[in-house]
């Protein structure tokens, strides 16, 4: 899961090959997928550089090469050498090319100077057609009920390279169709094309050698090792990697035809890594997360825990309406007016703010403005866990750097909390604004009756919790999947995410009600859009200097933090 930056190349580091007659210059070596060691550039990489896609099943740029599907077979030639080992030349000065009598798999065969690769000959098409025929003879063709349908490489290549009729007139090989490999993955062995991607992923990327192949020949079947469950925290990536519908996610299985899913670019908010993902939703309901490739962050993967962390978004008990428990108001205009009055009347020094490092940079930016206007001290709530050495970070907040850079908290998140608690107990702080945190969580070790001592507890949150229960004013906000914004990950990667679904009821993005409060308190309406807020934040923050929302792109930008 390391990121690799192409280094400066010189002519000696490159070589020239031809792909279907077109010249292309490629590096002599490329980093190996897992070890990062420099290994000779392969034909498939050269074709990619030439803009030619070679169909493939087993090859995956982030996995070790297996070379087993044979879909990527190509024809090629190399410059013929004379007895003096110098290239022979045609009358027109071009090198004489000696055609190889045997094809080669593009995914594993290194390129050499002057090599010519042909991906579009009759011979190559015939080989692809044959591989397709072989793959399909024993395939169950479950497409109508197969979760992979619509994003199935077998379907796609059957269309591109297959044939309409089948010469197969025998009884198919039958294999188990619902094998429970682990808590989150089911195997349909009949659909499996034995590309071994799943095996290589769990062995070489997740470093859990859990899967293998049993039996022989056409009866080969993927299996977890005897007595073992396929249960590491990365298993669901194999359902993505599986080019067919053999490995399915128990969570997503039979839930939704993929072609109905709207895809929105987002991030996982489960920890400080900020894995890039696509939200698959339909009719305002999220059905799945799938990782979105970002080599600076998560490569092509994400952890199972993060991937399955979406169901709560559609929970029925989401906070849907603003509420002032004292006045009974349940309408934004009134509740915000009343909240602003309350804050305006609070004596200086008697207001404190506890924000969240799960909030977006833009929200934290406005929260900080509010603190400054009110002269309120602030902090956020730390979330710590164990790093797994793969993707999961020990910082379980997605935006700790955002919280620091905006100044809502200090370098060590939560360091101020005991002091704030003291001042509440001492009656110095009488009004507390809490954004997206439950302060009664035992691991915070705050006094149990702390919130009861406050005169005013204003809470912005998404789901009910004991802090919300005690709040005088409740301001319902949005899951990050319901809004746009930025997070800065543990390595300083500033990344954007977009809205996938609408919030329930009257719930609104926190920048909305924070802006509403600021406007009421200062008489000036701050920018409301995430774009504008981020650009202002960047302008005002040395670490983000020169950045703009637009410049972040889909892959984000790394800043010094």
């Amino acid at each position: 899961m390391s990121s690799t930056t192409p280094s400066q190349t010189t002519a000696a580091d490159t070589l020239t090959v031809r792909v279907n007659g077109r010249e292309v210059v490629v590096p002599r070596t490329m980093p190996e997928a897992v070890s990062g060691k420099a290994v000779p550039t392969t034909m498939i990489q050269a074709c990619e550089a030439a803009g030619v896609t070679v169909p493939h099943y087993c090859y995956h740029p982030k996995l070790p090469v297996a070379g087993n599907c044979r879909m990527c077979l190509v024809e090629f030639g190399t410059p013929a050498l004379g007895p003096d080992r110098q290239p022979l030349l045609n009358p027109d000065g071009s090198p004489v090319i000696r055609q190889s009598p045997r094809p080669a798999i593009a995914c594993a065969t290194p390129v050499s100077p002057g090599m010519e690769i042909y991906t579009d000959t009759d011979g190559v098409h015939a080989m692809r057609r044959a591989v397709m025929e072989f793959l399909l003879i024993n395939h169950p063709l479950d497409c109508p009920i197969c979760d992979q349908a619509g994003e199935c490489k077998l379907q796609e290549y059957a269309l591109d390279h297959g044939q309409a009729a089948s010469g197969f007139d025998e009884v198919k090989v039958h294999k188990p169709k619902t094998v429970d490999l682990g808590p989150r993955i089911l195997l349909d062995a009949e659909r499996c094309i034995l590309c071994s991607r799943c095996i290589r992923f769990t062995r070489d990327i997740a470093r859990d050698d859990a899967l293998g192949i049993i039996n022989r020949g056409s009866y080969n079947t993927i299996a977890a090792y005897p007595g073992r469950q396929f249960d590491n925290n990365y298993t669901l990536n194999t359902a993505d990697l599986c080019p067919v519908g053999a490995l399915t996610s128990k969570d997503f299985r039979f839930r939704m035809r993929v072609w109905f899913l709207k895809e929105s670019k987002s991030l996982c908010a489960g920890c400080g890594t900020g894995c890039n993902l696509l939200v698959g939703s339909r009719e305002n309901r999220i059905h799945r997360f799938t990782p979105r490739q970002n080599d600076a962050v998560n490569s092509c993967w994400m952890c199972d825990e993060g991937r399955l962390n979406y169901r709560w978004v559609g929970r029925g008990d989401r906070l849907k309406s603003p509420l002032n428990r004292r006045s009974g108001a349940t309408e934004w205009g009134t509740v915000l007016d009343e909240t602003a009055d309350l804050l305006r009347n609070a004596s200086r020094g008697s207001v404190a703010v506890i924000g969240s490092a799960r909030a977006t940079c833009e929200e934290l930016f406005l929260l900080k403005k509010l603190c400054q206007h009110l002269g309120a001290r602030s902090d956020c709530v730390p979330r710590e866990g164990e790093a797994d050495g793969l993707l999961v970070s020990d910082d379980r907040n997605p935006n700790s750097h955002g919280a620091r850079l905006t100044g809502v908290c200090f370098t060590e998140i939560g360091i101020n909390l005991p002091y704030l608690a003291n001042d509440i107990e001492a009656g110095k702080i009488r009004t507390l604004l809490v954004l997206g945190e439950d302060l009664t969580k035992p691991e915070l070790e705050l006094p149990t009756d702390l919130l009861g001592r406050l005169e005013n507890l204003i809470v912005g949150d998404i789901l009910p919790n004991p802090t919300v229960d005690q709040a005088h004013i409740v301001l319902p906000g949005c899951a990050h999947l319901e809004k746009r914004g930025t997070f800065i990950n543990v390595n300083g990667r500033v990344q954007r995410f977009f809205k996938a679904v609408e919030p329930p009821g009257q719930a609104m993005p926190e920048t909305g009600w924070l802006g509403g409060l600021l406007e009421r308190l200062t008489g000036e309406a701050p920018a409301r859009s995430a774009e504008a807020l981020f650009n202002q934040l960047a302008e005002a923050t040395p670490a983000l200097k020169g950045l703009t929302w637009a410049a972040l792109g889909d892959q984000g930008v790394t800043v010094e933090v």
Binding site: G67, N68, C69, R102, E133, F134, I137, I213, G217
Partner: protein, 443 residues
């Protein structure tokens, strides 16, 4: 009259010869080793190069060339593995050596190891050869006790040990890279070449030499008599002697040692020194010349040999199959191969469809299933043949078989098993098409 030329089998086929060390020593055993340890490894490698010895495991690859490709600069240890997996149907020569003269193999291995700076070697023996493994282990113990193996061999500075590893019963473990995977304790999936050439990235990713049992015994004789002398046996590029395994419809099936190219199929099948003829009132129908995977010859086939650019020296001419000399180049030029030396003779009682069905069943069962064309194609062919053979033929079956078989070989698969499973089908159906078409009617 043709005759055998015994080199490897000379001693152990004498009456009273026993596989123990004493007997081997009485017959001059380990003398070659004693002498070889006094010269440099390079000199020994040179002798093997000069001898022209070609591998006896199936591919007939030059032994000297194989050794010269070994990466000697990697700083990693170099390993040698003796391929004793002998699983090709129709092949039963290596087991004779192992059972009857294990020390000859061990001496050959020590010589090959010394010549290649190898200090650890393995004998990978097929799982079914339990008795062979026992005999080899016994012989290795004897050799260690007498200082032919271990630290400071024969009082010198050269160290070597050899271990026996038993397979678990899979033909694919004979393919050298599948063998190495298996030896490493993994599923014997042959490796993708490039990059995993054994000479560079073999056992445990170290340079490795894989040689057949008979090849390693031949090495002993090359070094005993000198490369030049050895090369005088046989024909250019087809030097020395080799063991052939004669099976099927002959009077005297068995193994024989011949000077390469000095005898023809006619000699091998009909000469009293070899097969001794067919069974009574039978005529010859077909010959599988080099193990089950070699392309079959029809008995009445005429083969074109010679001519410009064609292998099998001499002017262009038509030759009766029976008159083909048994050597590497001629059989390759004739469109088949001498492979593992397994000659299967089929007379006119043979149901050609059933014979091919039998072979295909074997290949479908033994395909490791790693790569698509072989995994799916081998079973598909077997299923059609099973059906054809049981009166369930359908129009077009013969052509369908050819279509499948044409889509497997020629570099489309990871290992040569792709060829092994499709060549029999291509040749049987191609050369006996009428018999397949008759069965298409469902008889």
């Amino acid at each position: 009259m043709a005759e055998e030329h015994r080199l490897i089998t000379k001693q152990f086929r004498e009456a009273g010869y026993t596989p123990d060390l004493d007997c081997y020593l009485r017959h001059g055993g380990y003398d070659t080793l004693r002498r070889a340890l006094r010269v440099t490894p390079e000199q020994l490698r040179n002798e093997v190069g000069v001898s022209g010895l070609r591998g006896r495991g199936g591919a007939g690859f030059s032994c000297g060339l194989k050794w010269s490709l070994v990466d000697r600069r990697s700083g990693k240890p170099i390993y040698l593995v003796c391929n004793a997996d002998e699983s090709e149907p129709g092949t039963f020569k290596d087991r004779q050596i192992i059972h009857l003269d294990p020390h000859q193999l061990i001496e050959g291995m020590i010589l090959a190891c010394y010549a290649n700076d190898v200090h650890l070697a393995f004998i990978y023996i097929r799982g079914e050869f339990a008795e062979g493994a026992r005999i080899l282990n016994l012989a290795l113990t004897e050799a260690r006790a007498k200082g032919f193996l271990g630290k400071g061999i024969l009082g010198g500075t050269y160290d070597l040990d050899i271990h026996v590893h038993r397979g678990a019963g899979a033909y694919i473990c004979g393919e050298e890279t599948g063998l190495l995977e298996s030896l490493e304790g993994k599923r014997p999936y042959p490796r993708v070449k490039p990059p995993y050439y054994p000479a560079v990235l073999g056992l445990y990713q170290c340079p490795t030499i894989v040689n057949n049992v008979e090849t390693l015994c031949a090495v002993k004789h090359v070094l005993a008599m000198g490369g030049t002398e050895y090369a005088k046996l046989g024909r250019p590029n087809n030097t020395g002697t080799r063991l052939v395994c004669l099976s099927g419809h002959v009077q005297q099936p068995g193994y024989f040692e011949i000077e390469v190219g000095a005898v023809t199929f006619r000699d091998l099948i009909f000469d009293p020194a070899f097969g001794g003829g067919l069974r009574e009132d039978r005529t010859l129908k077909a010959i599988i010349p080099g193990g089950a995977s070699a392309k079959v010859f029809r008995a009445d086939e005429k083969v074109t040999l010679g001519g410009p650019g064609l292998e099998g020296a001499g002017p262009k001419r038509k030759v009766d199959v029976l008159d083909l000399p048994y050597d590497f180049t001629t059989l390759t030029a004739a469109g088949s191969m001498s492979g593992s030396g397994g000659i299967i003779v089929l007379d006119d009682s043979t149901d050609i469809v059933a014979a091919l069905a039998n072979l295909s069943e074997f290949f479908a069962h033994e395909s490791c299933g790693q790569c698509t064309p072989c995994r799916e194609g081998s079973l598909w062919m077997a299923k059609i043949l099973r059906r054809l053979g049981s009166g369930q033929g359908r129009a077009g079956d013969a052509d369908q078989l050819l279509h499948i078989a044409d889509n497997i070989p020629g570099g489309r698969t990871i290992c040569a098993f792709g060829e092994a499973c499709s060549w029999p089908v291509q040749s049987f159906v191609g050369k006996f098409k009428a018999e397949f078409e008759t069965k298409e009617a469902g008889v």
